[in-house]
């Protein structure tokens, strides 16, 4: 009950945030976006959700530097909000500049804990520079979904 309320609150607050109010998205917004993906996944199924996530014209899932990404449990990318080239690619062995197996690690968080935050480096879609990023991931059926913030 409480979580439902919180979820609703978060969702409303995100919605209430006026576009362009800040240059970058916040962690809360990132979590809210994950929840939206989850809601759509629940409501419309995997295919519609993945399509919407990968479609940059869907504002619900593309807000400044915020975007969701969805992988299956093997590390195969099934949907990406910023880099459609990755869709269909298995990135389980992908490393960032620090040598972190970020896909695998986030898969493990989603798999073992259900949800959590993970820090790594990733190119910012706004400037294509590799920046520090913290992503919130959650398990979603046979998949997991994440949304991160650049710092």
């Amino acid at each position: 009950m409480r979580s439902t309320l919180l979820m609703l609150l978060v969702s409303l607050s995100a919605w209430a945030w006026p576009a362009g109010a800040a240059e970058f998205g916040t962690k809360e917004e990132a979590v809210a976006m994950v929840k939206r993906v989850q809601a759509k996944f629940k409501a419309e199924g995997a295919e519609a959700t993945f399509k919407a996530v990968s479609d940059k014209s869907v504002p619900e899932f593309h807000d400044r530097d915020l975007y969701p990404f969805v992988y299956d449990m093997d590390g195969l990318n099934v949907a990406h909000g910023a880099r459609p080239a990755l869709i269909g690619k298995n990135l389980i062995t992908l490393k960032d500049q620090d040598g972190k197996f970020l896909v695998r690690d986030m898969r493990d968080i989603a798999k073992t804990r259900g949800s959590g935050w993970y820090d790594y480096k990733w190119p910012n879609p706004l400037n294509n520079k590799i920046e520090d990023k913290a992503s919130y991931v959650e398990r979603m059926g046979d998949f997991w979904v994440g949304v991160g913030v650049y710092r």
Binding site: R83, P84, A85, L91, T93, K95
Partner: protein, 669 residues
């Protein structure tokens, strides 16, 4: 030959044949050579196999693996270049050919990878490693393609992805390097093995060569010791033998090889020489020992051998008769010194002598002037030579003349003997006549009262000295029978004297048998002594009066026959003693008395009857005599006498009558 020296172990080789030793030595060297050859062949085969593995397997394999590695690295570089170019915003014009190039190279590497897995020379480890590698390569290739694909539109992301691509390529490259290194390590191991093989091969060759050398040295020593040295010794012995040295010491029967056989053969040869010498020596001694002169000339008439008697026959120095001289020379020089009777002037005799010598026919006799007689006996030998014996027969000649004289004497004696014999024959005749002359007449016998008497006497060829008599004086009848020892005139005379004395005593009226025999004996003994003779006689006297017979004196048994044919015997051994042997015999004389009834009777005989022999020299015997008497006793005395004499003569048959036969049958009427 020196006694065997050196190591005893080498002496053992002496009993092996030289051929065997040579064969063994060759075989040993051959074995060395074969071992060397076989070793070289095997080693080179192994080396060749190793090199082949090295050159046809390991090196190409290593090459193939490193080729793949190089290609993978090159492709990796190109991917990196692609991402780099993409990040720098180069357009599709530039990127597309590179992408195509990368695509081609990735496929080529895949093909090469597949080709590697298809290699037939892979080990199990390599096959397993390759399977892992191919799997890695597949993900690596996928990642590379993903990176290119991303890079085409999203360079920053491709840059992100280059890290994992690097890892994949690194893994593949590392695996390939490891495999290549393993192959290189294998090749290196093989190389070092080949190298150590070569070294060992070297050592084997050196050692086997040394062994061969050692064998050669040992063989040389053995051959020198057991062949060369003994042969040298044997050669030395042979040289000394051929130089005439006989007492050469040498070993034989020590070894059983060819050299041992040579030594044995030489030993036998030497022994034969010694034996031959000994035989010649013995022959010479034998020839010398002959008591005659002996010589042997060869076909060329040269003296081969002679003895000292032969030399002596020629009566001059030994140096003039020596082997090698011709007979003509020896005999020629003898002419003038050895004078042979009838040799005349010498030359003619010499020619005749040479002719005799060359064609010997029969022995001839030389009468030497020194008085010696020599018989020369020559004979041709089978090989054309002449062997001669010179026998000194001087002694023989002397014996011959002695014999001639003896013969003349014997002839003369024979003449004498012949006349003596005639005289003796006359004597025997006289004796026989004397014996018969004094026998009682038939008329005298018929006059005896109470007794029917038949007598028989036959003298042997030489008169035997039998005696019998029947005398009657003043109613007393005396029957005597006796046998003088020996034959001939003396026996006859003793018998005559006995008859005379018996008649004299009877006539003198002597009636006591003991005194009668005793006086008879003493008288006869005196006469026999005077005659210087050893004659004596057995004598039995029967005194008959009125059917009573008194027997005394020692002679054969007296047979008493009864009218019914039964037979009794009176042994006279204890009734007297041989007459004329001793001076006094009275102590020995006894008497035995027999009563005769009508038809009874007594029979007297000498040993001429009982000891008469038949053709098988069996004696007639008392048994036969008694049987005949018994069978014919029923007849008259004369008939009984005839039956006995006829039976005895039939028994004697053609056998000689050795002794006088005398029989007296007196039957009571």
């Amino acid at each position: 030959m020196t006694p065997p020296r050196g190591w005893p172990i080498l002496r053992k080789f002496d009993n092996l044949s030289v051929q065997f030793k040579a064969s063994v030595a060759s075989a040993l060297l051959l074995v060395c050579l074969l071992a060397l050859g076989a070793h070289a062949y095997l080693t080179s085969t192994r080396s060749a196999a190793g090199l082949r593995v090295l050159s046809t397997e390991l090196v190409p394999k290593q090459q193939a693996f490193s080729d793949v590695g190089n290609a993978v690295v090159a492709t990796h570089m190109k991917i990196f270049r692609y991402v780099s170019w993409a990040s720098n915003g180069l357009g599709e014009k530039v990127l597309k050919p590179l992408e195509d190039e990368i695509q081609v190279e990735l496929d080529a590497s895949s093909a090469r990878m597949d080709a590697l897995t298809q290699r037939p020379d892979l080990s199990d480890d390599e096959t397993a490693a390759l399977q892992v590698l191919v799997a890695k390569w597949r993900s690596c290739k996928a990642q590379a393609l993903d990176t290119i694909d991303v890079g085409r539109t999203d360079a920053p992301m491709a840059t992100m992805m280059i890290g994992q691509t690097d890892d994949s390529f690194e893994a593949v490259d590392s695996d390939l390097r490891k495999m290549t290194q393993a192959i290189v390590a294998k090749a290196t191991a093989l190389q070092s093995q080949l190298s150590s093989n070569a070294q060992r091969n070297q050592q084997v060759v050196v050692w086997v060569t040394l062994l061969g050398l050692l064998i050669s040295v040992v063989v040389a020593i053995v051959i020198s010791r057991s062949i060369v040295r003994p042969i040298r010794a044997i050669t030395d012995v042979m040289q000394r033998l051929s130089a005439g040295e006989i007492d050469v010491e040498m070993d034989h029967g020590v070894r059983s090889d060819e050299i041992g056989k040579m030594a044995n053969a030489i030993h036998v040869f030497r022994k034969n020489i010694i034996d031959k010498d000994r035989v010649e020596q013995t022959l010479a001694e034998a020839i010398e020992a002959i008591t005659e002169g002996f010589s042997l000339y060869d076909a060329e008439d040269k003296l081969v051998v002679c003895n000292s008697h032969y030399r002596e026959m020629f009566s001059y120095g030994p140096d003039t008769v020596i082997p090698g001289m011709s007979f003509e020379r020896i005999v020629g020089s003898a002419v003038g010194r050895v004078v042979v009777e009838g040799a005349g002037d010498g030359q003619a005799w010499l020619a005749q002598r040479l002719e005799q010598h060359r064609n010997p026919v029969e022995p001839h006799v030389q009468h030497r002037s020194d008085g010696r007689w020599i018989r020369v006996s020559e004979r041709l030998t089978g090989v054309g030579g002449v062997v001669a014996t010179y026998t000194d027969i001087t002694e023989l000649k002397a014996r011959e003349s002695e014999l001639d004289a003896a013969h003349a004497q014997v002839t003369a004696l024979n003449e004498e003997l012949r006349s003596d014999n005639r005289r003796m024959e006359g004597e025997l005749d006289v004796t026989r006549r004397l014996q018969m002359m004094l026998l009682p007449t038939r008329e005298e016998l018929q006059q005896v009262d109470g007794l029917e008497i038949a007598c028989f006497m036959q003298a042997a060829l030489e008169v035997g000295g039998d005696y019998y008599d029947v005398l009657q004086h003043e109613g007393r009848v005396k029957i005597g029978i006796g046998d003088v020892t020996g034959h001939g005139l003396e026996s006859g005379v003793v018998m005559l004297m006995t008859q005379a004395i018996v008649r004299a005593l009877l006539t003198s009226g002597e009636s006591d048998p003991v005194r009668f025999l005793s006086v008879l004996n003493t008288a006869l003994f005196g006469n026999v002594q005077r005659m210087g003779s050893d004659k004596n006689l057995t004598l039995c006297l029967l005194d008959y009066a009125m059917g009573e017979v008194r027997v005394s004196g020692q002679h054969e048994q007296v047979i008493v026959l009864r009218r019914d044919g039964s037979v009794e015997m009176i042994d006279t051994i204890d009734l007297g003693f041989p007459i004329g042997l001793e001076n006094e015999i009275a102590a020995f004389v006894g008497q035995s008395t027999v009563q005769l009834q009508r038809g009874d009777g007594v029979v007297l005989y000498t040993d001429g009857v009982t000891e008469a022999e038949d053709m098988e020299r069996e004696q007639y015997g008392l048994g036969r005599l008694a049987a005949v008497l018994k069978a014919h006793w029923a007849g008259s005395a004369e008939a009984i006498k005839h039956a006995v004499i006829a039976d005895v003569k039939r028994f004697i048959g053609a056998q000689t009558v050795y002794d006088d036969i005398t029989l007296v049958v007196a039957k009571q009427t």
